[in-house]
Point group: C3
Chain length 204, copies 3
């Protein structure tokens, strides 16, 4: 039952990522509907795909289960139908996006741990699950990579993933460690956008 719920959230998260990818791609010059759809898919599937290819965890989720594909397609059709509405409430969308990012990070970390990798590596692969879709989107659309924008994004995911493997190390049960780690990611991200926080430069 809980697994069914998690599966539903994963599908919803995939659709949501596709919506935000499509909204961003649509701002690009010359982007026709096929290009926008393509970028929506890459944004949504990219992170999990990079994680699983690095793990050699075949078959990839979306290759094996066509429902993920259909969920993304629905997200893109919805974006097309309710474009003005989604643009208007993009601010509210941000909240759901943040929850999606948090979920993808922790579930990605879990998937890596199931492949018996070191917890530190698992945390990195969890972070990859949430950010690599956006990185691929930026690379494909020739945009400034999300990693080099001021907002705190990937580092919030990394912090949450590290907290999750740490809690796991201290044998904290999953129904505590999962929401707590997700909350950390969401809080860092929301706080950083709210108060325009950014990480310091490496060295100037």
């Amino acid at each position: 039952m809980l697994m069914t719920l998690q599966y539903f959230f994963e599908l919803a998260g995939s659709a949501l990522f596709a919506i935000s990818g499509a909204l961003l791609a649509n701002d690009k010059q010359n982007a026709d509907w096929f290009g926008v759809t393509f970028v929506g898919f890459i944004t949504s599937l990219g992170g999990g795909t990079v994680r699983d290819v690095l793990l050699g965890a075949y078959p990839l989720g979306w290759v094996a289960d066509v429902h993920i594909f259909l969920a993304i397609l629905s997200g893109i059709v919805l974006t097309s139908l309710f474009y003005d509405l989604l643009q208007k409430y993009r601010h509210n969308l941000f909240l759901f996006e943040t929850l999606g990012i948090a979920m993808f990070t922790i579930i990605g970390t879990e998937k890596a741990l199931q492949c018996d990798v070191n917890p530190l590596i698992a945390a990195v692969l969890g972070m990859f699950s949430a950010v690599m879709g956006g990185v691929l989107r930026d690379v494909l659309t020739n945009d400034i990579p999300v990693l080099f924008r001021k907002e705190i994004y990937a580092s919030a995911c990394m912090a949450g993933a590290l907290l999750y493997v740490l809690l796991l190390y201290f044998e904290c049960p999953r129904n505590i460690s999962l929401p707590v780690s997700m909350a950390l990611i969401a809080l860092i991200r929301i706080a950083s956008v709210r108060w325009r926080l950014s990480l310091p430069r490496f060295r100037r």
Copy 2:
């Protein structure tokens, strides 16, 4: 015998893709012969490589069979020797390229189907086989991605791949479904270039 013929066409198609990749890369500033050769290879091998990595279908074709590599190398040597001629007849090259794209799409779809994936996913992976080489080329050369140019390209491949899996569903024999689907891709692409057709924007 038929398989031998298909193998020959695949080698010829690989060489052709490398030629068009090398011609494009050579327009780039500072591109030396090594860079041009490298981009020719990526253009030719990229699509099939992305498909097979996503499928986990190892070993990759060009890693297992050195003849593909040698066919591409021949294509690039030919480009160097007959550069002026190829530039002059680039228009005619377009026709062969289009046939190559159509062939790569349908054969790619078939390869995905052999890995027991859903027909819809197989069609996407077939389209990837034909377009991802060009996408990687554009990403490597920092060009406007082919997906965001006006011409209809990836969507033509997608249409042909979908037709192919549809015909397969209705148990249409391969010696009909293969040429018909390839023809659809070629016709859409030729028509779109001939009459400067382009897909509508997603939303403005």
Copy 3:
């Protein structure tokens, strides 16, 4: 014992690649310490990762062995602590980098040969081991790809890798073929920088 020595050099090489990646990324506008660290990791791990994903050689080195990850992290911490010193002696760093590139190429070629691929393909994958990290770094940071800069880099690696498989074909023992091939790479690269050599254009 020799294997232990090689392992030590591989860790040192990984740290060194991360240092040079971090130094380059730090020049980028807006790069915070997380972005710089991320790029340092990609630069260091990218080449071997691309090679192993193309070979289907799972698990990937850094996924299976956390020490590689820790070596890279140390390199980045050192970069942060001794930034001014490293910038001042960047010229001397170049020598170590060149040795690192040479080592990664030949060891990469060996790893591909262990997967029973054609020597020509193994040489290409060896070259990939040394250059793909830099290519990914340039793609992620939206920079002019290293392949299109004037300096001789990837072609030096390719020459060394080809020499290595050639020496192997003539049954030259490893303790001769390894240093000789590495020396060829280092010499070509040093000479090309020293006398500002560059490869001719493909065609003008």
